[in-house]
Subunit: 241 residues, 2 copies
Amino acid sequence: MLDKAALIVESFRPTGGPYRLAELAQRTGLPKPTVHRLAADLVRLGWLERTDGARYRLGGRLFELGSLVPRRRDLREAALPFLQDLFEATRETVHLGVREGLEVVYLERIHGHDALQLPSHIGHSLPLSCTGVGKALLAFCGTELTEEVLARPLPSLTAHSLTDPARLRMALEKTQVSGLAYEEQEAVPGVSCIAAPVFAGGDAVAAISVAVPRARFRPAQLAPAVRTAALGLSRMLRGGI
Amino acid sequence: MLDKAALIVESFRPTGGPYRLAELAQRTGLPKPTVHRLAADLVRLGWLERTDGARYRLGGRLFELGSLVPRRRDLREAALPFLQDLFEATRETVHLGVREGLEVVYLERIHGHDALQLPSHIGHSLPLSCTGVGKALLAFCGTELTEEVLARPLPSLTAHSLTDPARLRMALEKTQVSGLAYEEQEAVPGVSCIAAPVFAGGDAVAAISVAVPRARFRPAQLAPAVRTAALGLSRMLRGGI
DNA sequence: AATGTTTGTTCCGTGACACGGAACGACGCA
DNA sequence: TGCGTCGTTCCGTGTCACGGAACAAACATT
């Protein structure tokens, strides 16, 4: 029964809803009365909410609980000042992401009034190979993981996404040398990105990136800023997270 | 059974853990074998995690789900640029909060390297009457709610917290006139705060505040910045959130 | 070393309650 | 008026959640 409830809640990814009862039944594959009963329980617990009387969406209690997750909260808290610095220096969209399995999960995204339309929402996950943050993490996460990613078919989000393992391997090697990962229109058309890994105890535990409209992408000016932020956070984490 | 699982998860508030099995059994009032079984299920679902083999804490999946909650995500996303402006203008700790029942829940907190030690973590809730954000919300949330708060005994976080209903009522009236709420060491000793409500369709849906060490609290300089941010966000929300 | 205490874990018989097919009324549409 | 789909309720069946009891391991105390 817990599994069924979790199935319902997870079926709200990645949009958060709202969905109708029949939609939920279809998305989860559960019988309609079962969804009805469990959804009512979840609403009572505050994990789901009802909108306009007929639709369900994720509830506020879930936000409050999710914000407390120590492994996320502590890293985000430590990183925020450095992300602020990076944003002020570049005035472009700044990301903080970590690896979760074979995907990158975004912990924070900072932007100004001219926000880019990006799929990298907080809590959202994207393939490692398609994003700057992902490539920075992948390049410093050990050989076995790299090989696992290279062995599988590479997912693609745009026509520019790297689908050739050889090219990805070469890009990762460059990143290992330079400490910087580049991404050009591989996640979103028209948007380029430069990222740097954050280290804590030898392992890359996170990565910081700046996403920029392709038209004004100036790597020579962004690279030092991104690297500075990542190194600063790494030094802070060495003091124990 | 869902209730028991929710009880376990909620028992991690407000710290997020980690807790041992016996602690969880005590916090929830559930028998030890029951907690053991349910916690194992929750770990399997990613809602809890095990640290050092013997302790439980909130899990990463919960963070990802919580970040998707539409009611929170949309407001946070819309507010972020204005919070950035406010932070850059003041270089002090900036808050965004909403009302949830008789408490304020913080949706965002932005700070620099010299972060204040505050209880106002994201997702955390505090009494309306003890915080700047809370007073700004309370002053523009309708009479019946104000009276309900004034009727109950006022909670206090510090020796400076307002516990006299008459004084709180007077403070709220001043806020209704000026559009600004003040708080001095009522939530944290040594920290003052100034806040302004955010309107959408006549109701105050949120509030923005700046928290400052008492020593350098200059209301005359902070007030215009906070008001500007709140009004800017209000105008943006009028375009439909 | 010996003892007592608390821990996390496993087992299993019992019974409560989750389950979902079937049926219902309400609504939108043609 | 008839049809399809919606959300909701009912209820008999069978399952699986439940937690007391027992266990071994780790720790604390003497």
